[in-house]
Symmetry: C2
Subunit: 320 residues, 2 copies
């Protein structure tokens, strides 16, 4: 399915490069290869899964339109995929999502319906009800085979590009919310680069996947706390994604919000890319957890860059 | 020479992609294809010319070391090229160069010698005297054939990547200081993509190349003013670069410092890349001078991203 998705996505999705900097290598104590999915269309890897899912629908089903719920990156990915296919998209987003994500989703032509997060409304229930009412196909953010397959195309690129550098074994650190990207990349690496090991990275307080990989069952985040890593604030690993991660992934890692901000600042200074907090936790782990990572090289999947200017300016303030 | 440089640089220089965003297309009124040389090693295209020149030296000459004068990007390009060849590099920089550029040049192992710009010291005289005294080879920032050839490799990439998109004619807007990049790219396009036309872009007050292309002789900047575009604050086009530009380039364009800042902010928001002011003037022209540009598509060579955090935060402040 991942290879089939790659064929459908060919020429539309960007094959993102592997970036590096001697300064980051020095901080991490090993070679750091950063795959900047912030440079992907819509500013995150989510366009891969969105386009995979929308392009896989039967024509008559797709023509009725699609619906997604999302804090903003899946929203844009699905909105762009729908726009490219000329079909309507309805996106359910929290009213306090980053302003940039709300604006971009609307700019891509989607109808945005906001809900009030503190009121405790359930975005999945809202989405499912709306989809049924309007005859739209729900594109789930991670627990959907075609979405996982689309995200997995990033893993095919990693396998090819890391092999071209002559590297056979390395950990691949992946920003993890519900596990769509992590499970997709893990499957791609299993097939194409068995010496590369996928490992999820989460923010403190949202370490559901990290804990689930320890207990080998789905653990939920009890916390009602918030993180600045809005892109990966999910309550629990997915029913489809977790068994894949449990079978294939190495131990997860957690980082603090402050570490994510510092990683954003170093990505600005040394790689010249814009990362959002949830897209920088993998880099934060590579730089801040050297003793938890084996080998001479580490691959970092930096998953997105849709960040409001004020928060980015705050990250820049961490540079001395 | 450009093709020979491309062979020497192969596998060391990054082939940077062409980025785009529907939002930028809408602002510009045409398709905008941005080549982000900020993602090049050392954060600017200057590594191409530095590596081309250093790698072309005879072994015995190179072993004695190299010297460059630069506000910071050529400095880093030559410093990295020298470090990769294991030879010493001495870099002459103004004491008020951006802190990031001074620090990065030192981090690459170069000996940095600063001079006091307001005192009116001539960096070329300082550089030539030092080179002779220590037996170092001076790598000029633009008026040197191997440097021009190295910068021209960016033009070979543009020719190939634009053709792959099915685009045959377009202007290629290029951030222009002394003209090394502009002339090198113009030569590459002449050979490989004659439908693409190189056009220099300069900041107001430093429009020596723009005026020289009108008068067909080398014009100097009389202004002692300063711009935030430190990378491209040169007094006049080069003796070698100007005849090439005069023969091959379309009319030049100028933008204000404020337009450069606004372009940096849009590159942050819509492309997720970090540009410095002098690396953003080409994008500023594409977005702000639509009536001066023909056709359905424009190529923008965004030349560098070595910018201090405070100035970048100022650019972010232009986003409403």
């Amino acid at each position: 399915m991942i290879r089939a998705a790659a064929r459908r996505l060919s020429g539309r999705v960007r094959h993102t490069p592997l970036l590096s900097s001697p300064v980051l290598d020095q901080i991490a104590g090993r070679r750091v290869l950063v795959k900047p999915e912030c440079l992907q269309h819509t500013g995150s890897f989510k366009y891969r899964g969105g386009l995979s899912a929308v392009s896989a629908l039967p024509d008559t089903v797709r023509a009725r339109g699609v619906l997604a719920y999302s804090s903003g990156n899946h929203a844009q990915g699905v909105a762009r995929a729908a726009a490219e296919h000329g079909v309507p998209a309805v996106i359910v987003m929290p009213c306090d999502a980053p302003a940039l994500k709300l604006a971009n989703t609307r700019a891509l032509g989607a109808e945005v319906i906001t809900y009030d997060r503190p009121g405790g409304e359930n975005r999945e229930a809202i989405g499912e009800a709306l989809a049924e009412e309007r005859g739209l196909t729900l594109i789930r953010p991670y627990d959907a085979p075609e979405v996982i397959a689309g995200q997995g195309t990033a893993g095919l690129e990693i396998a090819a590009d890391v092999a071209a550098l002559g590297i056979e074994t390395a950990d691949v650190l992946i920003c993890c919310g519900g596990g769509g990207l992590t499970s997709g990349v893990a499957l791609a690496l299993e097939a194409e680069a068995p010496g590369l090991r996928a490992r999820p990275v989460e923010p403190e307080g949202f370490d559901d996947v990290v804990r689930s990989l320890v207990s080998h069952r789905i653990e939920r985040n009890e916390s009602r706390a918030r993180s600045i890593c809005d892109a990966i604030e999910t309550p629990a690993p997915g029913e489809l994604t977790f068994p894949i991660m449990d079978r294939l992934c190495g131990p997860g890692l957690t980082v603090t919000d402050d570490e994510a901000l510092a990683a954003m600042a170093l990505a600005f200074r040394d790689l010249k890319i814009v990362l959002e907090p949830g897209g920088a936790v993998s880099l934060a782990a590579a730089l801040g957890r050297p003793d938890a990572i084996p080998g001479d090289a580490v691959v970092v999947l930096a998953s997105g860059g849709n960040v409001d200017p004020a928060l980015f300016a705050r990250a820049l303030g961490t540079l001395t």
